[in-house]
Symmetry: C2
Subunit: 325 residues, 2 copies
């Protein structure tokens, strides 16, 4: 059994056409574009499903394509309409392929606006569309100005309250980035690193003991710099950093074997969930293995140091427990 | 033989008093505070030298303490006076302990000002004070506003020209950070990650084939995310990412054994230089080993996969070649 907790929806061209128009006319005038037909959604899903089947994935959790979430595009109604539309596509895809896909909600976060603007859409996704998680972007400014407070700040509490009430896990995953110094793919890694440290230095897990957080891309930079933060925690009289890290979960969406080995050894299999982002950045053939970079199952199966229990934890058990898949 | 390329000057209290006054009165009025006596410098160096001797380090390269470089503090003459003062202390320490220390220049970078403001001080440090390298901060804004262009941008070219002319390596190392989301220690890691990618995506190494760059803290996040950037490079028709990475050098200033193992396996010993930052964040006892986190020699010596040649590369040969120590 393989559950891939980190996937994104594949969209037919009309979705991109709608997005381009929304950005261009700034949602004014706006009229509901309707939704693509089931046939079109199925067509767009074809390659996606073939990849997952080839990789042996049984279930994938899908959310909006993060780099296209547009959280910093003004005015707010652009992102409002767009995220609602994409969540509908996700629901449609899950309805058409109920064995394969589960929905994870995008949130209409808008620049430095309070995330209370997301509560209604999150509730709709979970209660009406049957979604089992949500994606949270720690930098809805997308690098376009001073960032909002870190995830440890009370700025986020109204959203955490709703998330805990609905009992869905959060996948930390930033969106695009306007800084010429940072591609979106690099921005993901940096924002995850900031999110991990900010959450662990905060009171969030005391105030929300049932908040379930999964950090994308194997925790950004942090598992690679454990020693630095272990030393920092001792210096500052904090709880041992390895114990702090156990408050979080991490996906395996990291495309090098040495790195996944490090992740499992450092944070342990109870904290790791299989995730590939397939199809995504890693869907390109690695000349070294002749498989795509995001075909992570053989990589994980090749590790002698993992017990069968570790493997089950990573491949499906932690996902079943966390997401109630 | 052990050469530690990543150390910082230990300062007597009067240096901190001077700094506090400079920040407080914004260098107005300013009068030259003189320099601490040789006795005071020697006294401040005592603990530092004892640590290095205990660790078996023969030579350490020392630069200003990065978190105290104040590159974003207004007005510019604050940083101008401060960096010049600290470089003098470094020179003084090197003169007093010529076997142990070599100087690495801090630069009076100022917010988004062109780095041409640094040329004179760099030249003074190399030609008059005998320094053998310099530290470069990719974010002299210290998070206080939109960042300057990435290190791949022509913004930096006047500085690169001078660096190549003087033939000294550059250690990439950011300073403090005003963002409440990022401690300076986390900011280091993020800025190094940005620097690596920005340099590799640029024409800098075509335009300055003799520019020698060492990235602190084992390359930030990048060696842990090699697969991601390998895939990205293939997608974008670039040179293989592993080859791109060979344009850079990386220090070993990473305090976990799994991470250093990954670094050596991924980038190879010809690209790695021993560096500890001792005394610094890692100078605290690791309860797991009963040694300080920054005592990295036994960690590196414990790896069976390194050949004697690899070890020599890491411990001193690469440093000798790059810095002409």
């Amino acid at each position: 059994m393989i559950i891939d907790i980190h996937g994104h929806v594949s969209m037919p061209d009309e979705a991109w056409v709608y997005q381009a128009n929304l950005v261009s006319n700034r949602a004014r005038p706006w009229k509901d574009p309707g939704r693509p037909s089931d046939e079109r959604i199925a067509e767009a899903a074809k390659g996606h499903i073939a990849l997952l089947q080839k990789a042996g994935t049984d279930i994938q959790l899908i959310s909006p394509r993060p780099f296209a979430m547009m959280h910093s595009i003004r005015p707010e109604k652009v992102v409002h309409h767009w995220i609602r539309y994409v969540n509908d596509l996700i629901a449609q895809k899950c309805r058409l392929f109920p064995e394969m896909f589960r929905g994870v909600a995008g949130l209409p976060q808008f620049r430095d606006t309070s995330p209370t603007n997301c509560l209604e859409e999150l509730e709709r996704c979970v209660k009406e569309l049957g979604f089992i998680g949500c994606v949270l972007n720690p930098d809805p400014m997308e690098g376009d100005g001073p960032p909002v407070p870190g995830l440890g700040d009370e700025f986020w509490y109204p959203l955490y309250e709703k998330i805990v009430e609905l009992d869905v896990p959060v996948l930390i995953h930033s969106a695009s980035c306007v800084s010429p110094r940072e591609s979106y793919t690099l921005h993901f890694i940096l924002e995850e690193s900031i999110a991990v440290i900010d959450l662990l230095e905060s009171r969030v897990f005391e105030d929300f003991p049932n908040l379930k957080i999964v950090v994308s891309h194997s925790g950004g930079a942090i598992p690679y710099h454990m020693g630095r933060f272990r030393a920092w925690a001792i210096r500052n009289g904090e709880q041992p950093f390895d114990e702090q890290m156990r408050r979080l979960h991490f996906d395996t969406c990291n495309y090098s074997s040495e790195a996944l080995e490090l992740l499992f050894k450092v944070v342990g299999s109870p904290s790791c969930l299989f995730g590939t982002e397939m199809p995504g950045t890693g869907t390109v053939v690695d000349p070294g293995t002749a498989r795509t970079f995001d075909d992570l199952r053989p990589v994980i199966e090749s590790y002698d140091f993992l017990t069968p229990e570790d493997r089950d934890n990573i491949f499906f058990k932690n996902a079943q427990e966390l997401y109630r898949v």
